[in-house]
Symmetry: C2
């Protein structure tokens, strides 16, 4: 049901097709985030129009609101939010550790207070799987513990707990129509990352996720971790680098063998008036754009760029019209999805590796990283 | 250029086609309001998909922000906001009197302070026409003074000033590709309304607007005013009842000979979680809808009703997701446009008058009026 077929390779970079119950995902792929069962400010028709195949939703958020039982009773996540293509849910782990109030971790699970109303809840690996089975995404994640990359001792404990929780998650799974990945942890310590990669690879899951990166470490540290893990990652399964998606990180990640990416960055930037553009990220509230008749990106084929001027979008921002967030979200998502489309083409024709410097240069002005924050999957 | 062809009549109700430089408007028509050159939370593609032909924008708002000269320099309102179909701008009069701070009216015009930054501005009839010529809508309005309907003496003064200003507006107009309507005022006094209708009809404008209604008078008073004016309205020009659009008022207005309506109600209600529905207006935040698998209106053909459950929309509202406003706006606009479509069909087949009681009954639960407020055209 979850066959992954690699169709071409350029050194470590791979292009492939991952089959799911809701259709095929061409990889490498960038997945927009629909935290609360909606990609913020967009209809599913608009998300489909930007070329998205895979959409991520957050287990922690949906468990609290509207409740996973409600989503199940209304037909599951696909039907609830009317997204007909593949979906992925995270385990809730990252949000419990980054967003919930006063959490208490033990080997069994985590007790935490909701960031919405302070009510007390408990997640265990089994609970996370049960929630994700109610939600019904095609790809699901085991409950994991994400450590502070600068705390080596904690990284080891968190990694070991993540391994035990992965085994329990696999035992708890009952639905055969969901691909439960394993998650590698280990902070920024090469020995831990190797140990974790070997352990998770040994579980034989239909995909491998890499957690605990882009959470405060340097870019060089992230790249080093991807490199040390690589020899230990099974070739035949898709690899998912969680919560990483600046254009630069996508290009670099593909080069280091990653197949799946997700991140809130394009839609969050959009709500803060910031757009990916060839000349670098644009803050469209800037007065310089007031009479600018150009689209955000004259090379872009999205509805926003095919239709509206920078001057109009700047007016919407100044006039506090919410449509600005919608229009910039459409463009920012399309920009990353288009980048991935061209990367797939370059891998297919064997030119990807040689084009990496040019691609990185082209996107240099959009390269600033943001660390993972609360909505992040 | 602005031919109005009446294609069928049912007593006072008329169905027709009003030709404009940006296409034909089938009347009776309901026009969504795009105050700041955007129908709030919707792309023009979504506005087109609900079947809108005519969209209204507000001169006062666009003059202040982004400025009518900027709109002109970016190609005019149609191109600026990418609405390819007919547009109408109001004169700015209503907003100056209802929204601007500390205004001083004299016979020449009005000096007022911007509600945005307190800066001082002056509108005269000539200035309003110049602004509207910069904006470039197909249908434009003369600067008018809207009186408190309960102040008879003021209503007479305001009406007389409105008449003088209408003459000045006609002299100021330079663009032949814009239809400048006349506006009837006169509060709720039958003699004033008759006098104003005769005066404005005598100007020979390509359309007649009726101002100063739905501003605090009773429904019976509004109906009485429509009735006393009717014999004095030219048959051959379209009649526009400004800022009136509860379903009940639309049905009633058509019956009393009105061809054009506009109002912010459907989109404003949407942002306050309220949807038109067969059983009456629904507040979709209500917990009763949490697990409701029905669409807002199972008889509706809009994207929202064809796609989403009440339960999902309620989740979006509770989770403070802006998509709820978009989805309910789509439905509320479509509901009124669909009502007008069926009214046109009933007029064409001669059944409208006999169906009025049934139509009013059908929409009874959505009948609450709202008085005109700041965004109102």
């Amino acid at each position: 049901m979850f066959e992954f077929q690699i169709t071409s390779k350029n050194n470590r970079a791979r292009a492939g097709i991952f089959a799911t119950p809701h259709g095929e995902i061409q990889t490498p792929v960038f997945a927009p985030v629909g935290t609360q069962a909606t990609v913020k400010t967009l209809t599913p028709a608009q998300v489909e129009a930007v070329g998205a195949t895979l959409v991520l939703a957050n287990t922690y958020h949906l468990y609290l609101r509207p409740g996973d039982d409600l989503v199940r009773d209304l037909g599951g996540l696909h039907r609830f939010m009317q997204w007909p293509r593949p979906m992925l849910t995270d385990s809730g782990g990252f949000q419990v550790f980054s967003l919930a109030q006063t959490r208490k971790i033990d080997d069994e699970g985590v007790t935490f207070k909701s960031h919405i109303d302070g009510s007390t809840h408990r997640f265990t690996p089994e609970k996370s799987i049960a929630i994700q089975e109610n939600l019904g995404a095609d790809i699901i994640m085991p409950f994991d513990e994400c450590s502070d990359p600068n705390d080596g001792a904690y990284s080891k404990l968190a990694m070991e707990r993540t391994h035990r929780w992965a085994e329990r998650s696999l035992r708890a799974q009952t639905r055969p129509d969901q691909a439960l990945f394993g998650i590698i942890q280990g902070g920024v310590q090469a020995d831990l990352r190797v140990e974790s990669a070997k352990f998770i690879a040994g579980l034989g899951t239909p995909g491998i996720a890499i957690g605990g990166l882009s959470v405060g470490e340097t870019k060089a540290e992230m790249q080093a971790m991807l490199d040390v893990m690589h020899p230990h990652l099974p070739e035949a399964q898709p690899r998912y680098l969680m919560g990483v998606c600046t254009p630069e990180d996508l290009i670099d990640g593909v080069m280091r063998g990653i197949d799946i990416f997700d991140c809130v960055l394009p839609t969050r930037l959009a709500r803060h008036h910031s757009a990916f553009a060839p000349e670098g990220r644009l803050n469209l509230m800037n007065a310089a754009f007031a009479r600018d008749e150009r689209p955000i990106d004259s090379t872009c084929d999205c509805y926003t760029c095919m239709t509206f001027t920078r001057g109009y979008i700047r007016h919407l921002i100044v006039a506090k019209e919410l449509l600005s967030g919608t229009l910039i979200s459409i463009h920012n998502l399309r920009a990353l999805i288009r980048l991935m489309e061209s990367i797939r083409g370059y891998i297919a024709n064997g030119s990807f590796e040689s084009r990496v410097p040019q691609l990185l240069n082209q996107w240099r002005g959009n390269a600033e990283r943001e660390n993972q924050t609360m909505d992040h999957g």
